[in-house]
């Protein structure tokens, strides 16, 4: 029963990391790196097991945070990073995708919270057997 709570916790942690990554993408929708290259969109990759070396298949963990070299072009000749044709490469992030992913992450987080609540209620009723 305790193991069930650990599994749910791994789900909560993974969804929170996903949420942080999405927040970072949305905050950096127009950002450049210090070297002048556009910010690259981050995305998380989930895998089963509670860690890279865990083969039990129980729980979930973030295996990698990937950077995607996808950019959107905007015409702005006066921009310091504009190319010869007057186009600027900006991070390939759009709010719609990020918001959708954010809602998915938040719903998945809630599902894990519900699982913990049920684990707790089962544990409580089992403990009441003692007296």
């Amino acid at each position: 029963m305790m193991e069930a709570i650990d599994i749910s916790t791994s789900g909560l942690v993974a969804q929170r990391i996903r949420m942080n990554t999405i927040a970072m993408n949305m905050a950096n929708i127009d950002s450049f790196n210090p070297d002048g290259t556009p910010y690259q969109r981050r995305s998380v990759e989930f895998q089963t097991g509670s860690g890279a070396r865990d083969r039990s298949g129980q729980g979930v963990h973030v295996a990698a945070i990937r950077q995607e070299a996808v950019y959107r072009k905007e015409y702005d000749p006066s921009h310091p990073y504009a190319d010869a044709d007057g186009y600027v490469s900006l991070p390939g992030i759009d709010y719609l995708t990020e918001m959708t992913n954010m809602m998915l992450a938040s719903r998945a987080y809630e599902a894990n919270v519900t699982a913990v609540e049920l684990s707790k209620s089962m544990l409580n009723s089992s403990l009441r057997l003692l007296g």
Partner: protein
């Protein structure tokens, strides 16, 4: 020895089996929920109908022997019991009719959540019944209400 024969009769072993099963199934269902967004993961479960059939059959067999003594559970397709009668279940991919999403995951959120709620309810009901059994024993041992 006396205590063992006192506890190994009536509904107590049956309730113990059900409690064991619901606890193990709960871990499997929780694992499904934590992997709702894992690419390639397939929903797993323990076979409820198979367990109920095995339990019913074991109870019927015990009835034929006079209704006393421990339950003898016989292994079925997905379920095994060890020497002490504890369930050793392997989670399996039982559902193959769910929608397969583009990330190769066959999540079915509503079903998983309701299965987990039902499983918890069954566990809690079993525990309450077990409690009632123990309370009855306690009353009998004390000899007064």
């Amino acid at each position: 020895m006396f205590l063992e024969s006192l506890l190994n009769r009536g509904a107590v072993p049956v309730l113990e089996q059900v409690m064991n099963f619901t606890q193990q199934r709960h871990s499997v269902l929780v694992n499904n929920i934590s992997n709702f967004d894992t690419p390639g993961y397939k929903m797993q479960d323990l076979p409820v109908a198979e367990f109920d059939a095995a339990l019913q059959e074991a109870v019927a067999r015990r009835e034929q022997k006079g209704g006393a003594g421990p339950l003898e559970m016989r292994p079925s397709r997905h379920l095994r019991w060890d020497g002490s009668g504890t369930l050793q279940a392997e989670a399996a991919e039982l559902e193959d009719n769910n929608i397969l999403f583009h990330d190769d995951n066959n999540r079915f959120v509503e079903k998983q959540m309701s299965e987990m709620a039902k499983n918890t309810l069954r566990h809690n009901v079993t525990v309450e019944m077990l409690r009632a059994q123990y309370n009855g024993l306690e009353t009998a041992i004390r000899g007064r209400l």
